[in-house]
């Protein structure tokens, strides 16, 4: 489903007189449909940067990312044009970030339902699905109409998870998806993610907590080991 070859990222900081900052180097892996890969590594090793390169928030410096898209066939995400990336993101990808990039003045329910409405699902239905998902993740109903900017870290993270998984994406990126959750909400979040995986979603995640990672990942890519 996805085959990454010799992927590297370096940042050229023109404003620091062309200083080059290395993100990560020579990453190669292959992942079959429905499998989950965990990226392990110390802070600063480039776990998030790998995810962002595949999602194309970062432009890779070298290498290729061959992805079997349902809508476009084989696509090299490292080189695909912007509109192809936008379409694939919208209809095939989800991304759980560490931090919620809050859309201001939109209710929790609408934040979660939005990607589904964007995918063409009727509003009433989308809102119903969003409510179901939020309940499953343990968000109390009284918060559904509130703005997530006022939520606690753990609540925001769950909004983030709900928003990323509601469309049942083919490929899901997870960047420390449970970092700010307590034990109980971590367990429910993992259950939601594992159910999604059982439904056929391929996953790539960055975790610093190995014990957690092993509860969802089939394979582990160890950045520290590569370095050594």
């Amino acid at each position: 489903m996805i085959k990454v070859k010799d992927l590297s990222k370096e940042f050229i900081m023109h404003i620091l007189n062309g200083k080059v900052i290395e993100g990560f180097k020579n990453v190669s892996f292959e992942l079959e449909k429905g499998r989950a890969m965990g990226i392990k590594g110390k802070s600063g090793r480039g776990k998030s940067s790998i995810l962002k390169c595949i999602y194309r928030t970062y432009i890779p410096s070298t290498g290729s990312i061959m992805y079997e898209s349902s809508g476009f066939g084989g696509v090299d995400l490292a080189r695909a044009d912007d509109h192809t990336v936008i379409e694939i993101r919208k209809s095939e990808m989800g991304f759980i970030t560490q931090f919620l990039h809050i859309i201001p003045r939109v209710s929790a329910l609408d934040v979660v339902a939005e990607p589904l409405i964007g995918a063409g699902v009727e509003r009433e239905n989308a809102l119903k699905k969003a409510a179901g998902l939020l309940s499953e993740l343990g968000i109390p109903e009284r918060l559904f109409d509130a703005y997530p900017s006022t939520f606690s870290g753990g609540e925001k993270q769950r909004i983030n998870i709900a928003r990323a998984v509601i469309t049942k994406p083919r490929l899901l990126f997870m960047d420390e998806p449970t970092a700010s959750l307590d034990e109980k909400s971590t367990a429910t979040a993992l259950a939601v993610l594992n159910a999604l995986k059982a439904g056929g979603t391929t996953m790539i995640g960055a975790f610093h907590d190995i014990r957690l990672m092993k509860q969802i990942a089939d394979v582990i890519y160890d950045l520290d080991e590569m370095e050594a």
Binding site: F11, I12, M13, H14, I15, K52, R56, T57, Y58, I59, F72, D82, H83, T84, V85, I86, E87, I103, P104, R105, I117
Partner: protein, 291 residues
């Protein structure tokens, strides 16, 4: 793959008579002033595609040519050279309103068509919201009158129907309908912008140009106008070109962004990529200048 609704190619505007130096494709001058003839480069070789349902951002500092570009596309300013193609099959009354026009097949350079077709496109197909309300509105005519005037230009006939639609549009842009018969000169800045938006969407345009629409408004009013734009886009699927120097506005509204400097596009890409992994020196300065 869907096709772009608007294709813009090599659009250039030189203010002044121009000479070989400043018309040369490769030339870039600081401040845009030609050292040989003194002409000012407004825009140089701008090319991009705008897709149905897409919100494209144009960001850059004051004087980078952003407004000149949208004004050329809206036929307010005549380009020195360049092409614009429109390919559209849709419900907007464009083709019906263009007798003798073969339709928007994407084959004709729209800049080379006659003034009648340009006027029709301006009235039926495009909508424009300017930074200053006095450019988009007649501030002495009532809010309702401003909107009805735009419908009249697009061959509206029935005054009752048009008034009803004007009041619906004002309600949609959250202007109290009781204010329909007051002139916008008595409105606050945020209200004037919302009347401008109501007027711009009066004829259900396929493409909406928004030129610094929230600049100069205080933040709570800015938020209201931005929310309205998001809501309209969600409901109607209109394509938008959003010009702003404010990266916050660009982040909130757009999927894709062009970065302009000295009349040129220096970088273009996905908005999150432009903000998180800017490639060009100027874009890096711009992103790092954000508060």
């Amino acid at each position: 793959m869907r096709k772009p609704v608007l294709r813009v190619r090599n659009v250039t505007k030189i203010f002044g008579k121009g000479c070989r130096t400043c018309l040369d494709d490769g030339s870039v001058f600081e401040g845009g002033i030609c050292p040989d003839c003194g002409s000012i480069t407004g825009c140089k070789n701008i090319s991009f595609d705008l897709f149905p349902n897409e919100i494209l951002g144009i960001v850059g500092e004051s004087g980078s040519g952003k407004s000149t570009l949208v004004r050329m596309l809206y036929f307010d300013v005549e380009p020195t050279k360049g092409e614009m193609f429109i390919e559209f099959e849709g419900k907007n009354g464009v083709s019906a309103g263009l007798p003798g026009f073969t339709g928007l097949t994407g084959e004709n350079n729209i800049f080379k068509t006659g003034s009648f077709i340009k006027r029709q496109l301006k009235n039926f197909f495009f909508g424009m919201v300017y930074q200053s309300a006095h450019l988009g509105l007649n501030l002495d005519v009532t809010a309702g009158g401003n909107i009805v005037e735009r419908m009249l230009m697009a061959n509206g006939r029935n005054i009752e129907k048009m008034r009803a639609r004007a009041s619906m549009l004002l309600a949609r842009t959250e202007i109290p309908v009781e204010r329909m018969d007051s002139p916008p000169k008595n409105f606050s800045g945020g209200m004037q912008q919302r009347v401008q938006i109501a007027k711009a969407i009066a004829n259900d345009p396929a493409i909406l140009f928004l030129d610094e629409v929230t600049s100069g408004l205080d933040v709570s009013v800015q938020a209201k106008v931005l929310d309205l734009i998001r809501k309209l886009q969600n409901e109607t699927g209109v394509s938008m070109l959003v010009v702003s120097h404010d990266l916050g506005v660009i982040r909130l509204l757009t999927n894709r962004t062009l970065v302009m400097k000295n009349g040129r596009v220096v970088e273009s890409g996905l908005t999150d990529q432009i903000l998180e992994d800017p490639q060009q020196e100027y874009t890096q300065v711009l992103v790092n200048s954000a508060l």
